[in-house]
């Protein structure tokens, strides 16, 4: 029995959630191998070989793997699948797009988005936007599993020296073509892994007002999130969306500003360690999950919040 994890990377660096997935994968079985499909991604293969939990790295280098074309990835993964009891990846847009395609070809019923490994075939996963937890046991011989990265700590990154094996590419698909990627560059921490997240909702009223949020984010070195309502209204880009169909975040501190707390938003943040809600509607459902609720007009509260934070730093100095 061994586990094959599909690495997510940008050909230069390992994407952070891969390390969280490694933790979960090695809980399923310690014989963990990582498959790197990429183009000129030698650094990625090397980094992963240094992860103590990784026993072997399989590296396939070809230009057809420069971007994540699920069709191309799948044929390559299927080639290696035979030797493994489990194929796993993180349950973000990378793994969600890819894993079901693999599972169907292996005639396996996939277990999506696990938050706990109970045994090699039994897992805990949230359903109904996290309003229920299901314990499920896979009876398929080969198991395909995606891992909710924020439910597992990232694995140690150094100290290991796994063997790197090169392998040949599989055939490429001619019916899917990558055209472009519009990546939003930011100096802020990544939303999925940030220690502090501050999010705005419909109460922000427009995109310009998000400056009130970004000023505080800069001060706290926080990532910026948003409710679906704010993204739908065009205040901010989709990569900021927190919720059932957006990103799931589990920061130490989550500050929800002008967010009413729809079920689908709570699904993305209610496991956060400390939750703050700032909303002028005292009846808003967000207060039911907040550790600290402030019933106030955000346009008055946010500038005050920033100035109080500034004072605090002065004290610390």
């Amino acid at each position: 029995m061994s586990v094959l994890l599909i690495a997510e990377h940008n050909n230069k660096e390992v994407r952070p959630f891969t390390y969280n997935a490694i933790t979960a994968a090695s809980q399923i079985n310690e014989d963990l191998h990582v498959l790197v499909l990429g183009h000129q991604a030698d650094d990625v293969a090397k980094s992963l070989s240094e992860v103590p939990n990784v026993k072997k790295v399989i590296h396939v280098d070809n230009e057809i793997y420069e971007n994540y074309i699920a069709e191309n990835y799948t044929t390559a993964i299927i080639k290696h699948a035979e030797s493994y009891s489990h194929i796993v990846s993180s349950a973000n847009t990378f793994g969600k797009n890819l894993m079901p395609r693999i599972a169907a070809l292996l005639d396996t019923s996939q277990v999506s988005d696990i938050i706990k490994v109970i045994s090699e075939d039994t897992f805990l996963r949230p359903i109904y936007a996290g309003n229920a937890f299901a314990t499920v046991k896979s009876n398929d011989k080969k198991k395909c599993v995606t891992i909710r990265p924020t439910s597992f700590d990232p694995a140690d990154k150094s100290g290991g020296s796994a063997e790197i094996t090169k392998s040949d590419p599989a055939e490429a698909s001619s019916s899917t073509k990558f055209l472009k990627k519009e990546e939003v560059k930011s100096d802020r921490p990544e939303l999925g892994t940030a220690r502090i997240v501050i999010s705005g909702g419909r109460g922000m009223q427009n995109g310009e007002n998000f400056k009130l949020i970004s000023d505080i984010a800069d001060k706290l070195n926080a990532a910026i999130g948003a409710s679906r309502a704010a993204v739908d209204a065009g205040y901010i880009t989709n990569d900021h969306q927190v919720g059932q169909t957006g990103k799931v975040v589990v920061p130490d501190l989550y500050i929800a500003v002008g967010i009413s707390g729809a079920i689908q938003h709570l699904a993305g943040m209610k496991e956060s360690k400390v939750i703050v809600a700032i909303n002028k509607d005292g009846e808003a459902p967000i207060f039911s999950v907040a550790d600290y609720g402030l019933e106030a007009d955000l346009f008055e509260a946010l500038p005050q919040f920033l100035s109080e934070l500034n004072k605090l730093n002065t004290i610390q100095k």
Binding site: N92, A104, Y128, S175, D291, G293, L309
Partner: protein, 249 residues
């Protein structure tokens, strides 16, 4: 072009679900049901493509118990031409759903299959990708924009890092994001007209596919409850609490 759109009946997104005391699942009796939200976007997109003169026929399909037909009827009321209801008695897994859909695709020969990217009940996010694999068709998942070209689609996808644009040749599977469009409401005359549109009924057992569960649901439980929080009176108090009590800043 012909478009097949798959829709699922789920507990309405506004309902606060309740877990059954015996741990066997969630309460569905006397609970408001509706079409899975992104499936509404899938129907809307198909109708828009047809209105633009780029599709000739839209077939809406659902798989489920008798009442699942309501979702097909709703799709017919917003512009689908005819419906298919594949009857199953129990909840089936996405792998089984995709095997049934494959059979229907082989019979109907659509150029495109649309569906929502994820059902809000089991939150699996699998069916579209699985169907694409079984048919060996290209997949464009989490679509927030679709442009129809000659024998191809240019699809903008919502991904963690931002947006990605790919081109897929037809036939293809597209799974739709909530931001793809704004689903319309059915007008009363269209709801009346939809009652006359045909819905073909098929028993899943007649399709000759294995839909037996592969995953055992051992128990369903409520997630751990958060302990009740407090209301603070001022921003100063909030900052003090965060610093001295929660120690997170």
């Amino acid at each position: 072009m012909k478009i097949l759109v798959a829709v699922k009946r789920v507990i309405d997104y506004n309902v606060q679900i309740r877990v059954k005391e015996d741990g066997s699942g969630v309460v569905t009796d006397n609970v408001k049901m509706s079409t899975n939200p992104p499936d509404d976007n899938a129907i809307e997109e198909a109708v828009k493509i047809k209105e633009a003169g780029k599709a000739k026929e839209i077939v809406a399909i659902t798989i489920g118990e008798e009442k699942a037909q309501e979702t097909v009827r709703k799709a017919l009321a917003v512009g689908a031409d005819r419906g298919i209801h594949v009857k199953v008695d129990n909840v089936i897994e996405p792998l089984a759903v995709s095997k049934i859909l494959k059979k229907i695709v082989e019979k109907e020969n659509p150029d495109l299959v649309f569906m929502g990217k994820q059902a809000i009940d089991d939150d699996c996010n699998q069916t579209g990708q699985m169907l694409a694999a079984l048919l060996n068709w290209p997949q464009a998942t989490f679509a927030s924009k679709i442009e129809v070209k000659d024998n191809a689609l240019e699809v903008t996808r919502e991904i963690d890092e931002g947006l990605e644009t790919i081109e897929v040749n037809v036939p293809a599977i597209v799974t739709c994001d909530l931001r793809l469009n704004e689903p319309r409401y059915a007008s009363l005359p269209n709801i009346m007209k939809a009652k006359k549109k045909p819905i073909e009924q098929i028993n899943a057992s007649d399709l000759g596919v294995d839909i037996n569960p592969r995953i055992e649901q051992i128990k369903v439980e409520e997630p751990p409850k958060r302990k009740a929080g407090i209301k603070v009176a001022s921003v100063e108090e909030l900052v003090q609490k965060l610093k001295n009590e929660a120690k997170v800043i």
